[in-house]
Assembly symmetry: C2
Homo-oligomer: 292 residues x 2
Amino acid sequence: MTFENELKSIIESINRNIASIVDYKVTEKTIADAMNYSLLAGGKRVRPVLVLAVAKALGGDVNKALPFAISIECIHTYSLIHDDLPAMDNDDLRRGSPTNHIKFGEGNAILAGDGLLNLAFEIIFDEIEKSNYNSYYAKIGKIISNASGIRGMIAGQIIDIESEGKAISIDRLIEMHSKKTGALIEAACIVGALSAEREDYLDIIREYGKNIGLVFQIVDDILDYTGDPKVLGKNIGSDKENNKSTFVSLLGIEESINLSRSLTDKALEISKEIDPSGFLSDYTRYLLNRSK
Amino acid sequence: MTFENELKSIIESINRNIASIVDYKVTEKTIADAMNYSLLAGGKRVRPVLVLAVAKALGGDVNKALPFAISIECIHTYSLIHDDLPAMDNDDLRRGSPTNHIKFGEGNAILAGDGLLNLAFEIIFDEIEKSNYNSYYAKIGKIISNASGIRGMIAGQIIDIESEGKAISIDRLIEMHSKKTGALIEAACIVGALSAEREDYLDIIREYGKNIGLVFQIVDDILDYTGDPKVLGKNIGSDKENNKSTFVSLLGIEESINLSRSLTDKALEISKEIDPSGFLSDYTRYLLNRSK
């Protein structure tokens, strides 16, 4: 199978399983609609793909990893819904469609986000129970909850809010992104390794995750500067408009591209070492070269 | 020790332990301040007291139950912060002080709520790890996450939003409250039993929790009608102002009082059976007779 076909097949499997998760858990139609609206809006599924790719690379069972991949995607989706709110980034367009609060109102959007964050942990505790209390799955819960919490993603979001309209240093920018975006991407890689019960690979996988997490954000900044709004499904130039420091504004476009390439090379050293089939390496390159 | 002194001592122990939980976990001052502002604002600590009281009544170790009690209080506090937001109830006063978004701004208040919900699960996964993967603690995680999720508290909040300004039936009102407030109170009781590793008591404890959860809400409605704003620390009459159906508006004050008494009697039958020391029974009466 070509890389493109394999990626497509993995994303389809993620989407099929996401489609059933909210209905199964829900009682009130409004909240199900608001959650599904954002959860099923497509997106690149970077985090769940990483969970499955790492699990497979380390000899794990992707079916066992899948619920955790979806749990992480629930957290990612909640963070987008809350980020887009008027009190935060005040965005009205996401993936080419009206943002959640534009579609469902602010109150429902806040609750849909809350519901998705909560659902992520319901999924994990379900899996722990189903596995008859596999300790690896409890470790997965700890990794995910730390990554999404006030030492991880939420801390990054606070730094983001506090940095708006200010000149910040490149170190602070890296700290912000390593928490806001990097923590959950790194966690996705670690969760893949834990679901495969391969703790012997945790350090090297964490290193891999750190590198591609940063690449992901640098490429985002580059695309906000040079990307095609039609391909991206969102407005470009919003960082500049919101007076946000970015890799491009602090380092310039050329050095940003160089940095993303050298970090990708470091990640590729690791992915080539652990992944005989090559999908993880192909995906690592894809994350650098993506156009959306 | 008198009941009042015992209750005071339990609440002090909860407050002492809550005071250390956010600082330990946090990296960014703004989010710690916003979370602690609401977490340390006092309050009755009904849910954590119930966790500890049930754990003790069933022969458990209250020190083992305490982290789960605090986890539930984090979830309760997050729900208050998000409930108070302009897009929800738009309240500016809570426990006699400005609400979180008035004090810290809407963006920070949303993140403080998110951070508290997430922290609740970080605490649980920490305890699971510390206990060397005690399956009872994983069960506690499942109970709490279900109670706070889209089949529990969040569903109740959606019903609340959708019921505003409408005449709803008493059955729908009970469904709303059993989810919005009842689910987490019931969970607190069950968590107390699970932390004591007494699964043989789950059914009877669930029944106890259901009854006092409903009593709690009926008394809230009665106090919103007859209470003293100075004692309550919040404005009264807000239900009427917001055109909300309440037990008082649907049943009248006298029948509301009668219903809360008969539900308390049912709960007392259970608490007397399981609690030789009598604290749980005293506390059950206290929940009926409280003035704030």
